[in-house]
Symmetry: D2
Subunit: 331 residues, 4 copies
């Protein structure tokens, strides 16, 4: 889970009129709405059997921030007359969790952003981002057979979906100036079928080349729609579920004899864009957490022994665009 400090960085580069960073807001607003509207009628993709979300527990860790020149005197004069207390922001978000009738985190964020602009007309822009707090279903014996419980859930600390929106007040009304969906903290290992060789060899090179390593990666993915309005899920056929993207990523990892993480993520990105024509681009932030080999050959077994790697960790950042997919298709 990203901390407040991490998420603040997203907005760090936003500048107000005279090129000054100025925002304030609330982080770690935990919202647990029960029995929200289920997500149904999404479009299937071959790599995934995911068909929707029950939303019995709709759990989110939300961050909100406001921007606007009217907030400047709170800094320069200590004048709080234009300040909405961040405690009130939290109360506003929680109150609107009861009012939201949609089925997605992206939709909820946009709903709240617009209501903030309705309520406080001196705000110029509202940014909201959120990490899902996932609650997995569990299997129980109901007296006759083993079924999914509709009462007990397991709060998961594994991968979770993410969302962000920025809504800006303009002369033509509210404008959706930013909208992303995503999935973070996927920790995947492929035990065989990954290589890393052919890189530059010089006096700083100590890493041995390998044709077959167990590749362990941390993945964060996020995506931008061609038409941002598709991201809300109001039209579920046009919505991309994080679970579907995860299943595509896992399938491509399974299929591809990869030469590096760079190689792998480009192929995942192309496949996601192929499956979802409504997306414009997909962005990756990845980490290499490959185990350290200890014993490579065990007599009578195809097993090996590895241990935890030391820091530091390699990382990658990359965007795959629709143009990349078209170029690939033309080859």
């Amino acid at each position: 889970m990203r901390t407040v400090e991490e998420k603040v960085m997203f907005i760090d580069e936003e500048k107000s009129a005279d090129d000054r960073v100025m925002y304030y807001g609330k982080g770690d607003v935990f919202v647990f709405r029960t029995y929200a509207t289920p997500l149904t009628n999404i479009t299937n993709v071959p790599e995934s059997d995911f068909t929707g979300r029950e939303n019995v527990i709709f759990g989110m860790n939300i961050q909100v921030s406001f921007r606007g020149e009217k907030f400047l005197p709170s800094f320069t004069e200590g004048d709080n007359s234009m300040i909405i207390a961040t405690d009130s922001m939290k109360n506003f978000i929680l109150a609107h969790a009861a009012k939201y009738e949609g089925a997605t985190m992206e939709g909820f964020l946009q709903f709240v952003a617009e209501r903030f602009l309705d309520k406080y007309d001196h705000i110029e822009a509202v940014e909201l981002s959120s990490d899902e707090i996932p609650y997995d279903t569990v299997k129980i014996h109901d007296g006759s057979s083993i079924v999914e419980s509709d009462l007990v859930y397991n709060c998961s600390r594994n991968e979770y979906s993410t969302a962000s929106v920025e809504v800006t007040r303009t002369n033509e009304g509210y404008k959706l100036t930013k909208q992303t969906g995503g999935i973070s903290d996927l920790h995947l290992i492929k035990v065989s079928g990954s290589s890393f060789y052919g890189y530059i060899q010089d006096e700083y090179t100590q890493l041995p080349e390998t044709n077959d390593r167990p590749l362990f990666i941390f993945l964060d993915l996020s995506w931008i729609y061609q038409d941002m309005r598709d991201g809300t899920g109001d039209n579920p056929e046009r919505y991309v579920a994080a679970e579907q993207v995860r299943d595509i990523a896992v399938t491509v990892f399974h299929e591809l004899y990869n030469n590096s993480i760079q190689h792998l993520i480009n192929e995942i990105g192309l496949r996601v864009l192929q499956r979802f024509p409504q997306l414009d681009q997909i962005r990756f932030k990845t980490n290499n957490r490959t185990w350290e080999p200890v014993i490579q050959d065990i007599e009578g077994s195809k097993g090996q022994v590895h241990t935890e790697p030391r820091p530091p960790y390699g990382f990658q950042g990359f965007t795959v665009t629709r143009k990349d997919l078209e170029n690939k298709g033309n080859k």
Copy 2:
């Protein structure tokens, strides 16, 4: 995941001959053994469809410590001649991960403990404990249908099994003086069907009574066999898998209209002991992480809005014994 510091506490109370705490060892020994022997042929229980572990990735975070009077001069004289470097302990464990032919963490710990006593005859007792590093299977599309991958796994940060052993050198040979299995960091919520009322009301009471709260608990469970040798899994019909205990706990939580965490865990303990006659007792360490209610009634919905509780957190410690089960049966 418990840290080294936490796990050290288990051995803290152990005393050497003249009533002195004295031990040393290695913590955070991460072992990833691939293609270990699968666990099969366990005995089924009604609450669980768990049938075994593939052990394609057998991941453990191990702690080892040694005790013995021969180590005293390393403290009092700075004389290292009887010291096995803790780096060597790590190498020993990793080397034996290639040699272990069994299918359980409990079995591996006992195997290593005995090999340490074989190798270094001045050690009086070896204690090993371990947390599983679980790697979940993932579903992929294999070209024709959706199946479990045999190459790609998802490293889980959710609940994990635990094990500990202590093997002591005696005049009659090695003695298994401690042996536990367990499961830790289960984070379960029941959205409806839990109450808490009837407790003492006085000037320090602020908590309102409730007949129906969403109860969120953190559970750690561990168990002791009547015959400790059953814990290794060498005879899998007598082995208790953490996944089975988890499924029983979840089913009892689903079934029971509970009056408190205390009430719940007693019922879980009785059910586990009923299903597994080979167990002597089960111990609970639990935490209450119940959400804070914000909006209890939403028009036209059975949903509610809650938020994260503040610290502090209530906790419980309790042991359910076979005698408790017998007493219950006699009522």
Copy 3:
């Protein structure tokens, strides 16, 4: 900072009458009392210039737990009539933070434990433990010179003092059955003057011997008084301040050309017992976090380059007793 889970382990081994673990309580009770009574008139030791604590901010993270057979029906019958809600325990502790007139964490814990036994006569024993939340003084310019601020403080995440008490109801009144002071999470490095050689060499040995390594250790120390009542600080001349023990530990580390952590902590323990005749024993839990060497010789410099070690980490547990000091003196 230890988590609730860690601290619960201290009480894990406590058994009720029929050999069952049974307790419940509250962890992470954060108490910030401002302008508590200052600690003054402690007895000086040569290694330390510490003379007392202002206690402008008296910050504590407290854990409390209750034991008693009267709590059994809450487990076995779901009967809460003897239950003090853990929320009420928190309120009780906070209320008593306003009433405490002493100057130490040890004293506060004992005060609260006794008040709990006064208030609820079905409790058999109360255990409280606490970690200090230290707020360091900071230097400011007051218009004429640089002085310590009496308004602004820096919340420290470095070493902190610890305390625990157990008070038991007996036929002769309340009995102090456990009492410790301590200091935890000291992270000390000595850049030169530590060795590690002469240990067992065999096929598992990879660690090279060294006559001069930069030794980096994590230390937790705790102590027990000969007369436990000296631990409250009510008679400050008999009180041992964690800051004094820290200064002794640092001085001994500086002075001693040590052969190992084992060697070092024995010498620290002896010195502490020599300076404080009111102590009965001192217990160590230590960790080795020594850097990994990269470049040992830099032309024209006595400097070196090191990097972070990988896990695993070596650890030690050891008690030094007053008898050890006497034996040493007789040599």
Copy 4:
């Protein structure tokens, strides 16, 4: 300490020629250089008695990333021929820690960035950022009096200095395209002399107004020089030490009866820019962690009782510029 993931976000928005994010690198490169050149001859400011750094331990957690179009085939073709392994990046940085003759983290980062561009001519830009790993001096008794040890240090988990540089290859040679110094994770409380009132009151307002609250803030500050070359410390009279900025921040916090965090940080920023004419701007990221009041009045004492706040947390982002200082002066 920021994680790799957090720090990666800094570079997230950087785009390559065709508007694609593309970078790769290494995070958590821990460098401990002993006996580096001391920092001396800095310019004093009234608020601080800081005069320099011994640099006996020069500890850093570094992140490096490379950008350049030549890396594109590693993604699109799985062609590693232009790849410098991230393990080699780490080795390069460690090797250059032995060669650096300056006294600051900012200077070291720039030195390494330029050496990377020297060595690998297909890199277009190198970005390096670093968090200091601070090792505080400790006091010991040297046989005659209490002095600072020159052998033993205390690894601090409190505030630490930060630095970042980006060096870009251009037709006119290497260009310093980014350069910051900073200090992070200052956790300061002012026990009296802070207010918060006069903000918007509506149906979402629950927070009571206050004329005197204990204000607890987390602060991260960073600064940009008017001439970026002043940031290296090669000309120490022009260098701004994080410790000096900390002391100014603390003094302003002490002096100012503040109306909000916004109000406070604007005043800190103005004072820092006044003291250091070589700075162009100072940026703040702050968090409100103010305690929750429990007991406001204690008879016979000016003390109070507070407890830990729940999440969520308010935050602020703000830049104070030299123009702000000039405007202030003209009023």
